[in-house]
């Protein structure tokens, strides 16, 4: 019975273009003189949850941020290589970054709602796109909040400040804010590390539900979480991709010693 809910396992090393959401090819990145990522190549499958694990400072947050060019905000950031989303190399200088970021949403570690009402928070991205029709916004806000499993808790106070929400609610609000733009890919950068275990579980369930809608890439420090929620896992060490496989394999029979040491807690 359980098998019904699980996907067939794909071979991530020989992924076809049709099944690839993000294709990273020879990506190297450095902040000033400090190399952060070295020759990363991997293909992230569509409609799956892929986890990035590794020590602090190994470059996993930087990698996830390069999927929607958030690293551009860091001064002195230089990169080479390609990242292909929908057949386009987003590292191209001509790429419309605003447009890209509406397709590839990102949620950060700390929940950071804007100092506005819940409604304005969720509709922020849509308004930026120039959508002003009230009914459309209303529907989009409701749908995004439902997808983020927050609707029932806030439907009576949509116009109250988002600051009054709890930490877990705020994080779901931030997810709803990203979902309102109907992204193809959702990047989660340690989304639960500031939350309590119960709320964490709640957000993990949310991710499993969202898988049908979009591709999810999650950075986490929590091995159990990576094993629980992700279909595929990539292990990074000092800016290099060490091992990338489906989660069951990686967590039970890691190919490399480094991976085994990390997931068994020998360092990290």
């Amino acid at each position: 019975m359980l098998k019904l809910f699980e996907h067939e396992t794909l071979d991530v090393h020989n992924l076809g273009d049709e099944e690839t959401a993000i294709g990273v090819k020879d990506l190297s990145l450095q902040f000033g003189q400090k190399p952060v990522l070295q020759n990363i190549s991997l293909r992230i499958p569509k409609h799956r949850i892929t986890a990035l694990i590794g020590q602090s400072g190994c470059g996993k947050s930087t990698l996830i941020s390069s999927f929607n060019r958030m690293n551009d905000l860091v001064p002195d950031c230089q990169y080479t290589g390609g990242i292909f989303i929908n057949g386009r190399n987003i590292n191209d200088k001509r790429e419309d970054v605003s447009q890209l970021r509406t397709q590839v949403g990102i949620v950060f570690q700390r929940p950071n709602p804007f100092p506005m009402s819940i409604y304005d928070n969720v509709s922020y991205g849509l308004r930026l796109k120039g959508i002003k029709v009230r009914r459309y916004l209303d529907d989009a806000v409701e749908q995004a909040l439902k997808e983020a499993a927050l609707w029932d808790e806030v439907k009576d106070r949509l116009f109250d400040s988002a600051r009054i929400l709890s930490g877990g609610q705020q994080q779901r609000l931030v997810i709803a804010r990203a979902l309102a733009l109907k992204p193809d890919i959702l990047l989660l950068d340690e989304p639960t590390s500031a939350l309590d275990p119960l709320t964490t579980l709640f957000i993990e369930e949310l991710m499993a539900g969202l898988k049908k809608r979009c591709t999810i890439v999650i950075v986490t420090h929590n091995m159990q979480q990576a094993a629980r929620v992700s279909d595929y896992t990539a292990f990074l060490h000092q800016g290099q991709l060490v091992e990338y496989a489906d989660s069951d394999t990686l967590f039970t029979m890691p190919e490399f010693k480094q991976t085994e040491d990390y997931i068994t807690g020998r360092y990290g």
């Binding site: 929607n68 958030m70 905000l73 001064p75 605003s98 447009q99 970021r101 509406t102 949403g105 990102i106 950060f108 700390r110 950071n112 804007f114 100092p115 922020y124 991205g125 930026l128 796109k129 400040s161 600051r163 931030v174 804010r177 990203a178 733009l181």
Partner: protein, 524 residues
């Protein structure tokens, strides 16, 4: 050699409490200084409005070598060289509208509070102290407040008639005559004769009305029994301080405050009200705020959000901070030299060349004053705004970018609203500084007396090129009067109190606004 070892005298805990006592002592001194300044200004300022008693003063007049008696008010009393001296403002037959004298105790025969003497305020701001005896209009009637009010009303009616004739008829004839002048009509043309006849007819009517008006006279008895006749048309108010109960005193007090706020200054800024100065101060501060807020905020946004982090930016930032400590008179000289003479002069030669050499914009005025004050307060706004911008968390900016916002959209929608408490802080500081500044204003537009307000009913309604009156300048003026004129000094304190109130009110408004913004945009 005396070598006291303090650490042996005091135990460690004693030494700590010693430090506390010293610091507390200095804080207490500070509080005391602040409190005494405020209470002095409040006391002297409010005392200006409180009806002071009128005394019957008998004294030996050393000049006339005889005893004299006058009605007078004590302005000040003090001891000098062992002698007790009173500073009197008094009315006599020779000086009905007030004079002042210093009276030594040795020459004073008696000082008794007068029950009947009235404080008669004239429309030009001067005061007569005496007993209202008779009301005179084709026959003499004994004074009573009711009769006085009836007669005053009649005088007011006549005055309205005179004003109506002047506005409706005389000014029309003037205009028609001026038209004839521009059309080069001969001096003896019949049209001129007709107008001139009409003019003299109305003139005669006015003269007869004026005679009628001036026939209403109040006879005031001085302390020595002689009377002085005062035309009713000149009198503004009559009240007898000796007969006022507490409620009456409060009424006079409040009426005085009201008149102080709405009337124009009289008698070279030693009497009357300060309305033009209050108006000028508030308007100047408002115009300055409208100039400095956008300039300062935009400069700060560029410096903090867009400017590259290099030597030039740091140099600009340091210069801006240092601009705040440039003495204000330097700004005044700059305003006069650059705004008034250079900028205004060039505008004149470009746009108003037909009225030259009389300057239109090339003369000190309210707009140049506001611009100069904006220069002066710009660093405050820039520094406070930058501080506010820096406090906006990077995470929020990143979140905005992550939703597809451009830099400009992020600045406008997220960063600026969140920095608004900081911006308000800057504007508050700017307002407080600008409202209290005097020296630069005297160079670029504030004057002791301006005949017109900078806003009136004539097109284009806002005359920002006009010179204006300012509370600070009025205080400065009053401080110089205070050496010669007792009443000028009292008015200085009252004006001081008002200036304090204006600054405090503007500050409180801005603080409330800032608190509301902060409440709205506070990040947890």
């Amino acid at each position: 050699m005396i070598n006291i070892k303090f650490h042996r005298l005091l135990s460690p805990s004693q030494r700590q409490s010693f430090v506390m006592s010293i610091t507390a002592f200095f804080s207490a001194i500070l509080l005391l200084a602040l409190g005494s300044m405020l209470s002095l200004i409040c006391y002297r300022g409010l005392a200006y409005f409180w009806p002071s008693p009128i005394y019957t003063v008998s004294y030996y007049d050393a000049k006339l070598e005889q005893a004299s008696v006058v009605y007078g008010q004590i302005f000040n009393e003090y001891e000098e060289h062992g002698e007790y001296i009173r500073w009197f403002l008094y009315s006599s037959v020779n000086h009905p509208t007030g004079n002042q004298m210093l009276l030594e105790q040795s020459n004073t025969l008696s000082v008794v509070e007068s029950a009947n003497s009235a404080n008669i305020t004239l429309k030009d701001g001067r005061t007569v102290m005496g007993v209202p005896a008779k009301l005179n209009n084709d026959g003499r009637l004994d004074y009573s407040p009711q009769r006085y009010l009836d007669m005053a009303n009649r005088v007011a009616e006549i005055q309205t008639d005179i004003d109506n004739i002047q506005v409706q008829h005389l000014s029309q004839i003037h205009q028609q005559l001026a038209q004839l002048d521009t059309q080069d009509v001969a001096d003896d043309a019949p049209a001129r004769h007709k107008l001139n006849n009409g003019f003299s007819l109305w003139q005669q009517k006015i003269e007869s009305l004026e005679r009628q008006r001036n026939s209403y006279v109040l006879d005031v008895a001085m302390a020595d029994g002689q009377t002085v006749a005062i035309p009713l048309a000149d009198i503004e108010s009559v009240f007898v301080p000796g007969q006022l109960n507490l409620l009456g005193r409060w009424q006079v007090f409040l009426r005085n405050i009201g008149q102080f706020l709405v009337q124009a200054p009289k008698q070279a800024n030693t009497a009357g009200g300060v309305f033009p100065a209050l108006f000028g101060t508030v308007l100047m501060v408002l115009v300055m705020t409208l100039i400095v807020a956008p300039f300062g905020v935009m400069a700060a946004v560029y410096l903090s959000e867009y400017a590259p982090d290099n030597f030039l930016t740091s140099a600009i930032r340091i210069s801006v901070s240092n601009m705040a400590s440039v003495p204000s008179i330097v700004y005044g000289v700059f305003g006069l030299g650059f705004f008034v003479y250079t900028l205004g002069g060039n505008i004149d030669s470009l746009l108003f060349s037909d009225t030259l050499p009389a300057p239109t914009m090339g003369t000190p005025g309210l707009f140049w004053a506001a611009l100069t004050m904006a220069m002066l307060t710009l660093p405050v706004v820039i520094v406070a705004t930058e501080e506010g911008l820096r406090r906006v968390p990077q995470g929020l900016r990143a979140s905005s970018y992550a939703l597809g916002a451009t830099k400009a959209e992020t600045v406008l929608r997220i960063v600026l609203p969140m920095a608004s408490p900081g911006i308000m802080t800057g504007i508050i500081l700017a307002i407080a500084r600008a409202a209290g500044e005097v020296a630069p204003l005297m160079l670029v537009g504030a004057v002791k007396f301006a005949p017109n307000l900078p806003v009136d009913g004539d097109f284009p309604y806002f005359h920002l090129d006009r010179q204006f009156m300012h509370l600070g300048v009025l205080i400065y003026d009053g401080a110089f009067h205070s050496q010669t004129d007792a009443k000028g000094a009292s008015m200085m304190f009252a004006t001081c109190l008002l200036l304090l109130l204006v600054v405090v009110t503007l500050n409180i408004l801005a603080v409330i606004l800032r608190a509301r913004l902060r409440n709205r945009y506070l990040v947890n």
